[in-house]
Symmetry: C2
Subunit: 343 residues, 2 copies
DNA sequence: GATTAGCACTCAACCTTGACGAGTGCTAAC
DNA sequence: GTTAGCACTCGTCAAGGTTGAGTGCTAATC
C-alpha cells in the first residue's frame, strides 16, 4: 500500500501548499518543495490520478491544480498534522482569560477580538440560551414610569435579560417591590419554558400579582429569544485574502455577517459534537460557497450553549484553527465553571 | 453680482453631478445637463476660475474636475437644496418606531439597520452615558455563587448595567436581599459620580452593608464606562462605492469601524450642536481621509447622549442624509421621552 | 466685454500584439 | 515504475497604437 500512501502524501503536500499560497500548485513545486526524491513527471502522473479521483480541479490547462472540496474534507478528516501552538500563541490565549470579567458581555467581545487577531480569520461568538433549559434564579421589577415596569430576569450563571412590561393599572413602587419579591421566591428554580404554566398556577392570589402576571403573559415571545448574544470580530481580516479581492464576493460575505439569522444558521451545529468543520457547499449557503466555517460549542453549567466560530476561505489553516479553538474553548469553560461552579 | 451667482451655480452643478456619478465632471456635461444656456467654452472659463479659487481639483489634464474639500464645505454650509423626503421614505422611518420596544438594546440596532438601508451608507449608533449625569433609580444584588454577587444598577430612563462583585466573606441570599433594598433606598436619586462619596458616608452602619460597600469600592472603573453601547450597521454598503473598490482602503476603513476608541472619537461632537458634518481631513483621522462623517446628537431626559452617525465617501448625499437624520432623531427623542416622560 | 466656435494638445482607458513562463500530457528511453 | 524531453496551452505582462473625453487658448461673433 506504499502506492496509495504516496498518492495521499502528494495530495497533502498540494493542499498544504495551496493553503499557504492560494496559488494553483504545479507538479514542479511539489517535486522541489515536498517530494525531492520524485521528479515532476512522476508527480504529474499522480496528480492526474488524483484529479480523476475527484480530489483536484484544474482551473484550466497549464495552471497547476487546486484542491476540491472533497480533498479538504479528506484533509480535515485524516491528514491534519497536529503541529502544536507556539509558546507565544498559548501565552496570548491565556492572557485573554487572565483579567477579571466584570461586564458579562465583554467576555465574548474579547474572545472574538483575540481569536481573530490570532488566526487572521473572522470570528463569531454566539451564546445561545435555549429557553427550555435556562433556570430562573432571580426576578426583579423596577418602576420606570407609573404603568411601565422594567422586568429583570436573572438566570443561573448570571445572565441577565430585561424586558419592559406594560401594566393595566398603575402600581406603587413599594407594592412592586413586594410583588417582585413574592414572584421571585415562587418562580426561582423553574426553567423559562415552565414559566407560563407556573404563572397560570399562581393566578388569583392577589390583585397586584395578577396584574403583573397578565403583563408578563401578554409579552410577546421575542423572536430571537433563543440567541442571547452574537458578537462578530475581525471583519477586516476578510479583505486580506486574495479570494476576496473581488469586491462583490467580499460584499456578499460581509452582508452575511450582518444578518443575524444567517449567522445563527452558520454557527449552529447539529448534535452534540464539540467541533464542526463545514467546507464550502457544506455551509449550505450560496454566499458562503468558497468559505469554510469551523465552530466549537461548549455547554455551560447553566444550560446555555456557547459557540465560537471562525469563517474564512476554504483553504483555511484547519490544523492551527482547531488547536486554537480547542485551547480557547478549554480556558473558557474552565473560567465559566469556576465562576458558577462553587454555588 | 449675477457673475458670482453664476459661478456658484456652476460649482453646485459640478458637486451635484460628482455626488451622483463619482466621475470627474467636464465642462460639456455641465453645459448639457445643467446650464443649457451656456456653451461648454464658457463653463470652461468659469471652471478655470473655480479651480483657481480652490474649489476644484483636476486629477490630471483632460479628466474633468473634482470638488475639493473646500467645495464640499461650501456646499454643506450654503448650497444644500432641501428636497424633502419622499412619502415612502418618511413612512419607512415611521415604521421603525412603531413596534413596541421590549429589549432596550434592540432599538439602536434597529435604527442602525434602517438608516443604513435607507441611505446606503454605513451607520453607527452610540449611546453615551456620562457618569456624572446618570441618576441611579434602583440597585439590586443577586447571588451568583457564595462570594460572588451580580450587582444590577438601573438608572433613570431604564438603562441597566451589571457588574460582578467579589465579597470578602460569604453572604446569605436573604441578607443580600435586605442589604440591597437598604442600599437602593439610600442611594436612589444620586448621580453615579456621587456614588463613592455617598457610599463613604453610609459606611459603618452594618457588617453586611460594609462588606458590600468595600466590594463596590474595589470595583475598578471600567474603561469604557462612558460608552454604554455602540452599534454599527451597513458595513457591506461601503463596498458598493467605487472609492472603495481599492481593497486596501476598504480594509483600513473597516478596521476603523471595528475599533471602539476610533469610532467614539469619530462620533463625538464638540459643543452642543445638534448636527455635525465633518468632511475628509476634518474627521482628523488618517484612515478616514476621503470620508465624511455626519452625526446627530440628542440629549435624553435621563442625561445620556445618543449619537447617530453616517459614514461614507466625501461625495455624500448631504442633503438627504441630513433630512433623514433629522427625521429619525425627532422620532427617537419623541419615543424616548414618551417612554420616560410620565414618571 | 461677454460668449462662443474651432483647434491643437493631453492623457486615461481600451485593445491588440507578442514574448514569457508555468504547467500539462504524451512518448520514448532508462 | 520512473524519468527526460518535447510540443502544446493558456494566463500574465509590457509595449504600442487608437480612441474619446476634456482642457486651454485664440479668434470670431453677439
Amino acid at each position: 500500500m506504499d502506492r496509495i500512501d504516496r498518492k495521499y502524501r502528494i495530495l497533502q503536500a498540494i493542499i498544504d501548499d495551496y493553503i499557504l499560497t492560494a496559488l494553483p500548485v504545479g507538479s514542479r513545486t511539489i517535486s522541489r518543495k515536498y517530494e525531492q526524491k520524485l521528479s515532476s513527471a512522476t508527480i504529474r502522473n499522480e496528480m492526474s490520478d488524483l484529479e480523476e479521483l475527484g480530489y483536484l480541479d484544474s482551473p484550466h490547462t497549464s495552471a497547476g491544480r487546486v484542491p476540491s472540496y472533497k480533498a479538504y474534507r479528506l484533509y480535515v478528516d485524516q491528514m491534519l498534522t497536529p503541529a502544536p501552538l507556539s509558546v507565544e500563541e498559548t501565552a496570548f490565549i491565556n492572557r485573554c482569560f487572565e483579567r477579571r470579567i466584570h461586564q458579562v458581555e465583554d467576555l465574548s467581545t474579547r474572545i472574538a477580538r483575540s481569536l481573530s487577531s490570532l488566526t487572521h480569520y473572522t470570528t463569531a461568538v454566539m451564546t445561545r440560551a435555549p429557553r427550555s433549559e435556562q433556570i430562573l434564579s432571580h426576578l426583579q421589577m423596577v418602576p420606570v414610569s407609573d404603568r411601565r415596569v422594567l422586568l429583570i430576569v436573572v438566570t443561573q450563571g448570571g445572565s441577565v435579560r430585561q424586558t419592559i412590561l406594560e401594566l393595566d393599572a398603575p402600581i406603587a413602587p413599594d407594592e412592586l417591590y413586594t410583588v417582585s419579591r413574592f414572584l421571585s421566591n415562587q418562580l426561582e428554580g423553574c426553567t423559562l419554558s415552565e414559566l407560563p404554566a407556573m404563572l397560570a398556577r399562581l393566578g388569583g392570589t392577589q390583585a397586584q400579582v395578577d396584574a403583573v402576571i397578565r403583563a408578563m403573559e401578554s409579552k410577546p415571545e421575542e423572536e430571537h429569544s433563543d440567541v442571547a448574544a452574537l458578537v462578530v470580530g475581525g471583519r477586516s481580516n476578510l479583505l486580506s485574502f486574495p479570494e476576496y479581492s473581488d469586491v462583490d464576493k467580499a460584499k456578499a460575505l460581509l452582508s452575511v455577517l450582518e444578518t443575524k439569522e444567517k449567522m445563527v444558521s452558520l454557527l449552529s451545529h447539529d448534535g452534540e459534537m464539540e467541533f464542526s468543520v463545514r467546507i464550502g457547499p457544506e455551509t449550505g449557503m450560496e454566499e458562503t460557497r468558497g468559505c469554510s466555517v469551523v465552530t466549537a460549542s461548549y455547554r455551560l453549567s447553566d444550560g446555555r450553549v456557547n459557540t465560537i466560530g471562525l469563517i474564512g476561505p476554504t483553504r483555511m489553516q484547519y490544523g492551527k484553527v482547531l488547536l486554537v479553538l480547542g485551547q480557547v474553548g478549554r480556558s473558557l469553560t474552565r473560567l465559566l465553571d469556576e465562576q458558577n461552579g462553587q454555588r
